[in-house]
């Protein structure tokens, strides 16, 4: 019978859960700026330490009966567990339990570790090989399947092209090429736009099809708008998706000379962020685009892209619906006054949508800027007049499609960054263009296939990581060059095995090896873990604000080689600070612990393992670097190969490994070292701290993943608890006095959390294979940072 021990164990588990719930409450009340959160934080700490102490007492029951000092300690701990009532009941029951537990020896003299002699499997049956092949199959199958979805079963031809100055000079310049009196010619050779065209195969000279231009928002690339392109092209529209300035495959806009001879930057968003150039080029290029209906041009954009298509529609409006080049425009997720001031100049049918839970709405809560006012202006300010029809009714259709006065306002129940993935939002867009541009389709508006592409790309993304990690493992296991890795991993595996034996995770036949994890050890470990998570949660936004000060050029959208990725600068500062704190905590705390053990005469607890394992000789370091560079090239080589064959890269929604671009390779080199601090720190923490706790491997993996991502996850919790309770995000403006907008930095966190969750898992796996902490850190920093950068914006002058 082990009833008492089981009761205490149950009490401890309930205590851990309660502690987490208290932390959650702390975050909630913190989010609501209610200072009672301190109380919950204290309760969380008490519950955590109470449960840790329960665990220690439980371990002591292996050797002792519940009497004397142990009984008193348990009674005190039971009383303290009142902060977690269920734990209190369980502890009390354990305390009052009459029957003594049967004494159980953890060290069993009879026990023998049976080392099963594993038969050497054939190469092609080894897990590494099987997973490598499986990863490759997933990549190919996922990319192929995504290609089918993207091309709507090959009924749409998808191709990329680059819009250059030369092309616009040929088709956009000169009096004859003017559209409504305007020419849009790219000013500098350095500015080129990445464009993807989705052309239905039934688009011919005799069957010209309507054209729709799609514009992503700030920090997004054209690939993130593929869902619009897929759904519209399969309904018979020729779709062009463009990368905005300094994003994706579009370069910087260069400089111009002022009248006084000074060099002045050409805005990254020049020419409606490239759309003006593209629309005029496509319209005038009758040599190539023979299959388009020039009477039916439309445009849709999300977020800043919504602002861009609004400008586009105004730029090409002319004086009437007949003159307007853009016949239909869909403005999504953008309600700034700068856009509203264009409404009266539009001469085309228009729709507007703004997510019901748009996090940026806190900026528009005044009489002159609210969504309600902008929507009212949208349906009232028609052809330069004010119709005076009052407040806009959501989903109500105003005006007439035949004369370009049609207006409709939507509010889908989604948030800002997922609005473009919201099925209703996409259906509304389809509905609008189907009717205003007369798309010839029998498909219902809600018939969507884009998610198959998204899912398939996701499979390829997972496959790519499985492939690369298995390949790494396979190479280390089979290539003689990596023999030293095998030796190093034996050392670390032995140490970790000893720790597991020592702390009772594994049985042993040598009682002298048994040790009890002391309460103080647990307190130190969990306090350090909690502290690092709390710091990671609280310092992100202040550091994002600091990034605006430290990198003013990037923050001001000015071209620069000095850390040019505006949004990533915030993440980089966070990584540097938290990586450094991680090092300090892992090594500093261990050094202090050792000193305390020495002073208190406990030499058996002193361990320098953490420090020793950081050592690496030059040969191994070069080998590690070589292996990592090779794996990186294979990863991106495959990415390029899949893009070349299937027009697919590895991605899932906001997480993506876009094909390499020179401008992003240079940007990447700038960011690698600062980020490496964090990635190495994580590898050290996972492998030299968490993994030496004596836990099972599964627990090590899960705990490390949670420890590394929970701080960021709580940023989301704090932000959205406040948002759903009050209607205003916690991280909107930096402070009441400092109105720097921080809410977009929270959007970045959505993409980072999955990476932070996976990071320690890869770090751990790489360490188990190589015995060095650098391999995983280098591999992950190279791939993850390239992925993050190429999915964001970089104001590098390239």
């Amino acid at each position: 019978m082990r009833t008492r021990k089981n009761l205490i164990k149950a009490s401890a588990i309930v205590g851990y859960v309660s502690s987490f719930m208290y932390i959650l409450l702390t975050a909630c009340y913190f989010a609501l700026s209610n200072s009672i959160y301190w109380l919950f934080l204290v309760l969380a700490a008490i519950t955590l330490y109470n449960s840790l102490y329960s665990s220690c007492i439980r371990r002591n029951l292996d050797d002792e009966k519940l009497e004397g000092k142990l009984k008193t300690k348990f009674l005190v701990n039971t009383i303290i567990s009142i902060v977690s009532p269920i734990s209190l009941i369980l502890n009390l029951t354990a305390y009052l339990w009459k029957k003594e537990d049967r004494f159980i020896e953890v060290a069993n003299p009879e026990f023998k570790i049976e080392v099963k002699e594993k038969k050497e499997k054939k190469f092609f049956k080894k897990a590494n090989f099987v997973l490598t092949v499986a990863g490759l199959v997933a990549i190919i199958a996922g990319s192929f399947s995504a290609n089918i979805a993207e091309t709507s079963s090959y009924s749409v031809k998808v191709r990329d092209f680059t819009l250059t100055k030369e092309m616009t000079e040929q088709y956009n310049a000169g009096e004859a090429n003017k559209l409504n009196g305007k020419n849009y010619v790219i000013e500098n050779d350095c500015l080129t736009y990445g464009v993807t065209e989705f052309k239905p195969k039934n688009a011919t000279q005799s069957n010209p099809l309507p054209v729709i231009f799609v514009m992503p928002g700030f920090t997004r690339t054209k690939a993130t708008m593929a869902q619009y392109a897929i759904e519209l092209s399969r309904r018979g529209a020729v779709v062009f998706v463009i990368d905005p300035g300094c994003q994706g495959s579009t370069t910087y806009a260069g400089y111009t000379e002022t009248e006084t001879g000074e060099k002045e930057q050409v805005s990254a968003t020049v020419g409606a962020n490239g759309l003006d150039y593209l629309v005029q080029y496509v319209f005038n290029n009758t040599d190539e685009f023979t299959y388009i209906d020039r009477e039916n041009f439309g445009a849709v954009g999300h977020s800043a892209g919504g602002g861009n298509v609004g400008q586009l529609a105004q730029d090409f409006a002319g004086n009437s619906y007949e003159e307007s080049i853009i016949k239909a425009v869909y403005l999504s997720g953008y309600i700034k006054n700068s856009l509203a001031n264009r409404f009266k100049s539009l001469r085309c049918n228009a729709a507007m949508s703004y997510a019901y839970y748009d996090e940026g709405a806190f900026r528009y809560q005044s009489d002159v800027s609210s969504f309600e006012l902008v929507a009212k202006r949208f349906v009232n300010e028609i052809n330069g007049k004010d119709l005076g029809i009052g407040e806009a009714i959501i989903d109500y259709e105003y005006g007439s499609m035949s004369d370009g006065t049609y207006r409709v306002v939507h509010r889908e129940q989604t948030n800002h960054c997922f609005e473009m993935y919201d099925t209703l939002s996409i259906s509304n867009t389809i509905n609008f263009f189907r009717r205003t541009l007369n798309l010839n389709t029998n498909l219902s508006d809600s018939n969507h296939t884009w998610m198959f592409k998204e899912g398939s790309n996701g499979i390829a993304l997972v496959g790519a990581f499985v492939f690369i990690i298995s390949l790494m493992s396979l190479l280390i296991d089979t290539v003689p060059l990596f023999k030293s890795f095998k030796v190093a991993r034996e050392v670390s595996a032995n140490y970790e095995f000893e720790q597991k034996v020592k702390y009772g995770t594994l049985p042993t036949n040598d009682p002298s090896k048994l040790a009890k994890k002391r309460f103080i050890d647990k307190v130190v470990f969990w306090s350090v873990t909690a502290l690092s998570a709390i710091i990671a949660c609280l310092d992100y936004i202040p550091l994002a604000r600091l990034s605006m000060e430290l990198f003013p050029d990037a923050a001001g959208n000015t071209y620069t080689f000095f850390f040019p990725a505006r949004m990533m600068n915030a993440v980089m500062l966070w990584a540097v600070v938290n990586g450094t704190i991680g090092f300090i905590l892992v090594f500093g705390v261990k050094a202090i612990e050792n000193l305390v053990y020495k002073l208190t005469n406990h030499p058996e607890y002193i361990s320098w393992y953490r420090f020793k394992q950081m050592k690496i000789n030059w040969k191994d370091l070069l080998l590690t670097l070589g292996l990592v560079i090779g794996l990186f090239l294979v990863f991106y080589g495959l990415d390029h190969l899949m893009y070349a064959i299937f027009h697919q890269d590895f991605r899932f929604m906001l997480i993506s490994a876009a094909p390499l671009q020179p401008r992003y390779i240079v940007t990447w080199l700038i960011y690698l070292i600062p980020f490496f601090i964090f990635y190495l720190s994580n590898s050290v923490r996972v492998n030299l701290s968490v993994a030496t706790e004596g836990w099972s491997e599964t627990k090590t993996y899960i705990a490390s993943a949670i420890f590394n991502s929970i701080g960021l996850a709580f940023i989301i919790v704090i932000n959205y608890v406040c948002y759903f309770k009050t209607g205003t995000v916690f991280y909107g403006y930096y402070s009441p006095k400092d109105t720097s907008e921080m809410w977009l930095y929270i959007n970045m966190v959505f993409g980072i959390i999955p990476m932070m969750f996976v990071l320690p898992i890869i770090n751990r796996f790489a360490y188990k294979k190589s015995g060095n902490v650098y391999l995983g850190a280098l591999l992950t920093v190279m791939i993850f940072i390239m992925m993050s950068l190429s999915a964001s914006v970089s104001y590098i002058p390239m």
């Binding site: 019901y356 709405a361 809560q365 009489d367 006012l373 009212k376 209607g727």
Partner: protein, 253 residues
Amino acid sequence: MKIKKLLVIPLMLFSLSGCSLAKGLEKNVNVVFEYKGEILSSGTVNQFKNILAPSLTDAQIPVNCEFFGWTWYNPNAVDITAENFDEKYIEPDGLVRYDILKDYVEGETITLRPLFFNEADIPVPEYYIAIGWYAKTSTSGLSEEKINAWVEDLKAFLLTQGATQEDLNNIKITPYVGDVATSGSQVSKDRYNDILLGWGGNLTSTGGVTTLDHIGGIDMSGKSRYISRLTDKEIAIKVFKWLQTDEGNQAFR
């Protein structure tokens, strides 16, 4: 181990249910705009959704009264001179936000009633000097840049007339838009202006503004426009005279 695995399912479901919590947290408030005991319009507000307050037609506003907006207090008990007066009503066409009303709702509905004040009861704000300008640039020739430059000249002039820094901080500059009738009507409603800039001769007739001095021929971006004095405050008389000098109106040219 099986139990642990089974626990994962409800935990995941619990996490997912968090998404639907957002909807549950919404606190809808029905807002009813009541005019003369009848419902004029209504709408629903919550943390994520606002509505616009309706406006009233001239015919709906009692004679010699000004319509300030909509209040959730007893309109008869609202004191226009109270320090927090601005927090007690929402202007016509203004934004009705959940945040404003949440503390006053009993049940799920709140009724807003029009807030009228007799024009004679509306206190006129006191400024060291108040200048109104016609912001219809195409007509008046005045722009924000020109007015800003002129205000700098004005401040320099006022300093020579013994104005203190406190006085300079208490200068009111108001742009007026719309046609002459609309802008003139707004000027009359505001009642605090000492001097007007940039209107034409029809300010008094079409605009309905009563002036003490009304002088034309002032060059404003090449247009011949009027300046008008509405009060006989000593400083207003001095400024009006100064406005007729080259030094006083050079910023308008």
